[in-house]
Subunit: 189 residues, 4 copies
Amino acid sequence: MIYAMYGVLEDIENGKLYLNVNEIVYEIVVGDTGYFEDFLNEKIKVFTKMIVNDDEISLYGFSDVLKLKLFEKLILVNKLGPKSALKIITSSDVSYIVSAIVNEDVKTLSTLPGIGPKTAERIILELKDSMKEFDVTLTEKDKKILEAIEALVTLGFSRNQSKKAVTQILKKDDSLDDIIKKALKFLSR
Amino acid sequence: MIYAMYGVLEDIENGKLYLNVNEIVYEIVVGDTGYFEDFLNEKIKVFTKMIVNDDEISLYGFSDVLKLKLFEKLILVNKLGPKSALKIITSSDVSYIVSAIVNEDVKTLSTLPGIGPKTAERIILELKDSMKEFDVTLTEKDKKILEAIEALVTLGFSRNQSKKAVTQILKKDDSLDDIIKKALKFLSR
Amino acid sequence: MIYAMYGVLEDIENGKLYLNVNEIVYEIVVGDTGYFEDFLNEKIKVFTKMIVNDDEISLYGFSDVLKLKLFEKLILVNKLGPKSALKIITSSDVSYIVSAIVNEDVKTLSTLPGIGPKTAERIILELKDSMKEFDVTLTEKDKKILEAIEALVTLGFSRNQSKKAVTQILKKDDSLDDIIKKALKFLSR
Amino acid sequence: MIYAMYGVLEDIENGKLYLNVNEIVYEIVVGDTGYFEDFLNEKIKVFTKMIVNDDEISLYGFSDVLKLKLFEKLILVNKLGPKSALKIITSSDVSYIVSAIVNEDVKTLSTLPGIGPKTAERIILELKDSMKEFDVTLTEKDKKILEAIEALVTLGFSRNQSKKAVTQILKKDDSLDDIIKKALKFLSR
């Protein structure tokens, strides 16, 4: 019912935004607040999904509409609740997740937080035919970047650190190994 | 509870409107968006029905109040959910549907999308006595127009194409056959 | 949660108000629309109670806070839903109903629409100890007026007609019989 | 979903605030209205928690965010509903309650209204590990003040009276006995 909101970002805490929309401050669960931190006390647009259950109505929020759309698909998957879906979405790029689903790539999906092989298979089974609206075409370079980030995260670096490192060191013809080695060097300065 | 909304139509996608009402963008399911497409980025009034169930609160929307009223009646019919009710309402004119119910016309009702004879009978049984507020008096001409449109739709033309064709070619004393023949000629230009 | 609303009264139909509050038009069930009809297209305050059940969220509305408070009490009574409670409240004055409950007056309560002796007893049993906030002290004159109105309604006149007639003919020392006779004469002019 | 509201405080009654936020007056259950009484007809911020159950959606309100946070923790405790949680929170200071939980102090917790030893133990069991966000460090002086207030409340004085008395008479090196004796003298002027 509530697709997006424009409001002043009053506060950010514990993975939640506090957005003042016409004198009502909404608590919006976003998980990864990294993107939003630059906009404190500014007016922003947040894409939202209202989750209703017996004893609570809560709002989940996203910085862009593709993340919202993917979230709406993921929560339809059997045994996958909003919290797990949010973890998946904030763990990587939409294109990376969608292409793993489209390519029925259980191994890649299983590297994402909170997803074991069984959940990965269920996601693929239930969603692979409904990904068309994401028209995702990952270039070879995109794939190498996303895989390098995953590798760094597996080595214990935070996702933000990994993204920043890879973006800093990346050269046009780097192989996946080149990217990981140079990023590690960058991170250990 | 929410009967109508005035807001700026920000976007239209997959049979849904995205209406900005005082900084909150509501997702409104309308099915057939044809009528609304001329009003993108303009302020409009949408008649709405809030549908509440265990795990979702959604808004269904209509361009005029008679459609809303008929929708509110249809969703009371046993085994007829909001999605099916919406399909019926967006498939034809309110007067055509209401007069079929009032005249207990199973055959005509069964031509509407998603309605078999059984559902048609149930709709008639449960609603025929509660159609008075629609004070629908179809002229002979109205009936010929609506029947011609249904015929064209059955032949595979979209409802919008059929409506436009019939309106273009219609002359005062045309018989039903005349209308269908001239409309087909118009559509095959 | 929603105690009252200020908005422009856009429309009145079938016992419902359509109140535009900041571009959202709320449908408010009031039953007796008599009081509100003078305020069409004006800004008014309506006291509201939000009724939530499995498949609907609706708003019931009242012209003054005492009616709202009595409604909130009545809907707590076992087997008494919002529709029946509304019928009771729109059928008479709050003081008349409250004093019947406080005086455990089953006979008077049973004259109100939708209330048989059993429901009257249940209302008295469950509510008589929680009427203090209404500090209702009916004068003898109040009682005669209310009883005269009830008598006229039982004779088939509408509640509005009866109220208007009694108010028109009332003299200081009239007995109950005087009031009824003069009101009947007035109504048969 | 609704974390806070800015609105004009229209009325206060029976432990509830009536807050006008953009023409909609919200009923907010706060229990102890003492703090809010100074702000009648002024614009204020109220921290809120929306409680949803089968047949009602209600708003609970707090003057500061720490009380809201503690309320959100307490209502997660098995068999502890919002009304009981509100009673606990309005009975004492957040720091006093939190330090009793952190120190596993069943005796102190049991002095709070509506809490017997069993509930105290359950609160401690379920919440003691999730109190970090309250970073509560009570000085010796704080403890003496809170204990003196509890003693006066047990003697029958209202919490507001007790707080005012203790604050009026307090000297730097007073022992707990001194504070209680001097407060009693103050209260019996």
